[in-house]
């Protein structure tokens, strides 16, 4: 079928238009053609290059058009854009399908921007640490991404990537960003403080297109625009695609998250549905992801392979000075201290802790309660209740944050910790408490149960409770506060738990996410459109 741009005149005039606009547009064609054809690109004018492009894309499927759009447009196309191009090509020929990016005025002098250079990465491993590189703030997720990226860059040779500000294209990280992604907290002189955007983060003049490469996402990408591009990339780039799966809380426990989280997360899941592998951070997180995967067949989707690769925790050993500093700061005096670590969103169930504590205080049990955790979504009731109890001179305090060294010291100083969360992907405070040898009261299900079981049956330094039953929680707290023999036994159990290191974790995650799945080879052409 001869379309409007298939004729000789069409190609010639389009070629002249491209030549007229300078070398940059031709450069994109020169980047694209060798990958599409498997042959070197001749040094020729745009018209010749266009004819080669037309030939290369004759009868091509969505994968080739995904690549062509990504390179010519210098941004990753979304799924509808790829389908639009394939349909236009079938009706009017490949050049009609690509006409818009070929004559785009998005770049260049008129738009006040430089033409971006486009780099096609084939067979490389791309690690997307966009958020982690943007701040030295350390949420649980960023800690995992950072510890993994640190070891992966040490032991392998991945390309660290992030996104352009509008989340339409992948780009290499700047050196400063790469340092922030891997090392986090300590910016070099002249670099921004933690939480500040890193300068150079807006560099979008050099974009990266993965083609039959490996793409690994060790952080959560819940921005719909980013997920749209990831979805099409997972489906059409022929790359092996894999993520670390933290939890499905916005889907399964939406009532405990800020409104709007679920929408972004659902977009993330739509992209992950087209990926190859999910390394879940606990068996419990794998349970959530597997339940979600069961939901996919009605949409004609199969979903990724899902395997739990549990997170490690490496405890700090606080010095005597730090312990003394913490003791001074926390001011528990002679009373045993109950430590509660975590932000105050409803999912963490801190109102239940306050109620159980009040029941015991009324009964004459003597102890202090220290909360360490940030203000969070919907935590007003928590702070109001703390204020009421403080007004009645109950020994309860809430600290918004502690430096790591003091937090580790607090774990050591505590009689026990309490973590009765309603749903966790991992339950870091449980793991940290146990790693410090301090018994923990936590929920008898999910990842918290896993941590307390310590890999070899029940009884790994924890008392397990039903977090939806205040009395169960109060009973456990009373036992740990009043029964020294029990406390001693649980402390010993906690100290005896096996230590798992970040090296082990990063190694296992790489094996599964990278070595375990291969991108498409050069010979595996996409199905040619037959019949019509």
């Amino acid at each position: 079928m001869t379309g409007r741009l298939g004729g000789v005149d069409g190609v010639a005039s389009l070629g002249a238009r491209i030549d007229h606009r300078g070398a940059c547009r031709r450069a994109a064609l020169r980047t694209l053609l060798p990958v599409l054809t498997g042959r070197p690109c001749p040094d020729a004018g745009a018209a010749t290059l266009l004819r080669l492009l037309e030939e290369a894309l004759a009868g091509a499927g969505p994968e080739q058009f995904w690549l062509a759009l990504a390179v010519l447009d210098a941004r990753l196309p979304d799924h509808p854009a790829v389908l639009r191009a394939v349909r236009a090509a079938r009706l009017d020929g490949p050049l009609a399908a690509l006409h818009r990016p070929l004559v785009s005025r998005r770049w260049g002098r008129r738009a006040g921007t430089r033409w971006p250079t486009v780099e096609i990465r084939t067979h490389d491993v791309l690690v997307d640490v966009h958020h982690t590189a943007q701040s030295s703030f350390a949420t649980g997720i960023q800690r995992v991404a950072r510890q993994s990226a640190l070891r992966w860059t040490r032991d392998h040779d991945p390309v660290l990537v992030g996104w352009t500000p509008d989340y339409t294209a992948l780009r290499r990280l700047t050196e400063g960003e790469a340092r922030a992604a891997v090392h986090g907290a300590s910016p070099a002189p002249g670099e921004p403080a933690p939480g500040e955007p890193v300068p150079g983060a807006r560099a979008d003049d050099h974009v990266v297109v993965p083609w039959r490469a490996t793409y690994v996402l060790p952080e959560l990408a819940a921005e719909p625009e980013r997920a749209r591009r990831q979805l099409a990339m997972a489906e059409f780039s022929g790359s092996a695609t894999a993520v670390i799966g933290f939890d499905c809380v916005p889907l399964t426990t939406a009532e405990t998250t800020a409104y709007g989280m679920s929408g972004g997360f659902a977009w993330n899941l739509a992209a992950v549905a087209r990926m190859d592998r999910v390394a879940a951070i606990s068996t419990s997180a794998a349970t959530e992801y597997r339940g979600w995967r069961q939901m996919l067949p009605g949409a004609g989707l199969r979903g990724p392979d899902i395997t739990p690769i549990p997170l490690p925790v490496e405890a700090d050993d606080p010095s005597a000075e730090v312990l003394a500093e913490a003791r001074e700061l926390l001011g528990s005096g002679d009373l045993p201290m109950v430590l509660v670590v975590g932000s105050h969103e409803p999912r963490k169930n801190h109102l239940a802790v306050l109620h159980a504590a009040e029941l015991l205080w009324r009964d004459g049990v003597r102890f202090t309660v220290t909360f360490v955790g940030g203000n969070s979504w919907n935590s007003e009731r928590f702070f109001a209740r703390v204020a009421e109890l403080q007004a009645r001179r109950r020994p309860v305090q809430s600290l918004s944050a502690l430096p790591d060294r003091l937090l580790w010291a607090a774990y050591r100083l505590a009689r026990c910790t309490v973590f009765p969360s309603l749903n966790e992907g991992f339950g870091l405070p449980v793991a940290e408490s146990l790693a410090s040898g301090t018994p923990v009261i936590t929920s008898a299900f999910g990842s918290m149960l896993e941590l307390a079981a310590g890999g070899h049956g029940a009884g790994g330094g924890a008392l397990l409770v039903d977090p939806r039953d205040d009395h169960d929680l109060a009973r456990a707290l009373r036992r740990l506060l009043t029964d020294d023999e029990l406390h001693g036994r649980l402390s010993q159990e906690a100290q005896a738990l096996p230590v798992r290191t970040w090296d082990q974790y990063a190694h296992e995650a790489w094996q599964y996410l990278v070595d375990g799945v291969q991108p498409k080879g050069p010979d595996e052409a996409t199905a040619a459109p037959g019949g019509t």
Binding site: M1, H79, P80, R84, V86, R87, R90, L91, P224, R228, L231, D247, C248, P250, L251, T252, T253, A254, E255, G260, S262, G263, F265, A266, W267, L269, A270, A273, S284, T287, E288, Y289, R290, G291, W292, R293, Q294, M295, L296, P297, G298, A299, G300, L301, P346, L351, A352, H355, L359, R362, R381, L422, S443, F445, G446, S447, D466, G530, G531, T532
Partner: protein, 514 residues
């Protein structure tokens, strides 16, 4: 948001309603009979409140406090509301708790429905039909409700409810609303929009040791209160499960949809049973349930109760029309809202491809309430080029029936469906369908009369359409298959869902533990 603003609450009415509600709760919560009513409603309320508080203190369970809260506050509690009262109760002496509760719950009542009385339905079945009772829309979910609930109403004792303003609690239906659910084809109030004041005095309704059936997806604003009802009230909450499209296919729906739907899932996770309308819908809800052990919940038992495909248009169906006469263009029909999930762009591509290859046919799209720009733009462009492409929005049942009968075949290459009503409708009119080869459309389609294709493969769609446009023998064979399809009635569906959601014992035997 409570009752319509601007109307001040008459304190006399509110006091009388409070006394009535407390007595309604007391009747099921107090061990001893309540005293004779005091002629002064305020005094009467105080006496009954005191009795209730003392009785609750001896047996402080979440379910009992839940019902007490509803009576006092004139709204259903959220989980946070309920736990705050439960914990406050526990920390206060009986002598001081009354005043504290009045304070707490009456401030909640400011957002409740303080002038309404309360009906406690003990051991029975309450059915939430909010949307179908209050709106004239008659698409998928409302069709299921208006076919099924009248049969339940005929055969069982059910209380039909809608949400009071602000979604604070369920209330009884008004007469017009009952008609809209129970006598849809011959309702008198066709097209009439209900006024809030017509239903302003209807009593609140709560189930007690009974079953609440969510026959629809309830309003989002109700989800926090419904979740607490499911978790704490001691009632069984059961639901017809239509689909989980917003969380499985976020790429195909407006971005607000997953947010809304996840709030609905926070009710479903504390529910007891879900009856999926197709294998596909059942799989989605059971997948969600399978994720719940991670948070220590069993989730609902999910069973499959497939809709009766053939019953969808039984009332208006007529024998298939003869194939279109030669002089007219054969019509290819596609029914479905104009949204990306329905995959109209693939259909338009296939049609354009076939038109250009010389085939003559008319493509008719019937739909409505769509979103996205690409489809209307494409339609306009094809129409401007002179291709025979009709688009009709918001057609009535008679026009739709005519369109199904006139069509040579229909095309429904949807990317994701909980059911696929247009497939069932087309088959009910004896018209063959090209539809998607997975999920619920496959379930309906594989029993005959359809050509199943991969909706993500444009070439397959082109081939299938070309075959049905050019080969009368193939079309006749499909029509013969339709005639042989096994049929299933709404009666059978209604019975099956009732048994699933209520149990064979017809909902009079109290709470069954999970």
């Amino acid at each position: 948001m409570g009752e319509p603003r601007g109307e001040t609450v008459d304190p006399t009415v509110a006091r009388r309603a409070l006394a009535q509600r407390l007595r309604a709760a007391g009747a099921v919560l107090c061990e001893r009979p309540l005293p004779e009513p005091d002629p002064d409603p305020a005094r009467d309320a105080a006496v009954v409140l005191d009795l209730l508080v003392r009785d609750l203190h001896t047996d402080l369970t979440p379910a009992r406090v839940w019902l007490f809260y509803v009576a006092l506050a004139s709204c259903l509690p959220t989980t946070e509301d309920l736990l705050a009262v439960l914990r406050g109760f526990e920390l206060s002496a009986p002598s001081e708790v009354g005043a504290w509760l009045l304070n707490t719950c009456l401030s909640a009542a400011r957002s409740g429905a303080p002038t309404r009385p309360l009906r406690v339905v003990t051991g029975g079945v309450v059915v939430d039909v909010d949307h179908s009772s209050r709106h004239e829309l008659h698409t998928g979910i409302q069709q299921v409700v208006r076919h099924t609930v009248p049969l339940w109403d005929r055969d069982h004792d059910v209380a039909l409810v809608a949400w009071a303003p602000g979604c604070v609690a369920h209330r009884e239906l008004g007469e017009i609303e009952r008609e809209r659910v129970l006598r849809w084809p011959d309702r008198r109030a066709y097209g009439r929009v209900p006024q809030a004041r017509e239903t302003a005095e209807l009593p609140l309704v709560v189930p007690w040791r009974g079953t609440l059936i969510l026959a629809e997806v309830p309003p989002e604003a109700a989800s926090a209160r419904l979740a607490a009802l499911a978790q704490y009230s001691g009632n069984r909450v059961t639901a017809i499960g239509y689909d989980c499209i917003p969380v499985v296919s976020a790429d195909l729906v407006p971005v607000a949809e997953p947010n809304r739907f996840c709030r609905y899932l926070s009710v479903i996770k504390h529910s007891h049973r879900v009856a999926g309308i197709s294998v596909s819908a059942t799989t989605e809800f059971s997948g969600f349930a399978a994720a719940l052990p991670a948070q220590g919940l069993a989730g609902p038992a999910v069973s499959e109760c497939p809709l009766p495909a053939e019953g969808m248009v039984a009332a208006t169906a007529a024998p298939p029309a003869p194939l279109a006469p030669e002089r007219e263009l054969p019509t290819v029909l596609s029914v479905g809202s104009f949204e990306p999930r329905k995959n109209h762009l693939a259909l338009l591509f296939a049609a354009e491809y076939l038109w250009r290859s010389g085939l003559a046919f008319r493509l008719r799209l019937i739909g409505g309430s769509g979103w996205g720009r690409e489809l209307p733009d494409k339609v306009r462009r094809l129409q401007a080029q002179g291709y025979p492409l009709d688009v009709e929005a918001r057609v009535d049942g008679a026009r739709l029936a005519e369109a199904y009968r006139d069509a040579r075949f229909t095309v429904f290459p949807s990317l994701h469906e909980g059911y696929g009503l247009p497939v069932a409708e087309s088959l009910a009119f004896g018209t063959p369908v090209i539809t998607s080869d997975y999920g619920s459309t496959r379930e309906i389609g594989e029993r005959g009369g359809t050509v199943l294709i991969d909706p993500r493969d444009d070439v397959a769609l082109v081939d299938a359409m070309r075959t049905l446009l050019t080969r009368d023998d193939r079309l006749a064979a499909l029509r013969a298959e339709i005639a042989d399809r096994p049929s299933r009635s709404w009666e059978a569906y209604a019975d099956e869902v009732w048994t699933c959601l209520v149990g064979a014992g017809a909902g009079t035997d109290g709470v069954e533990s999970r």
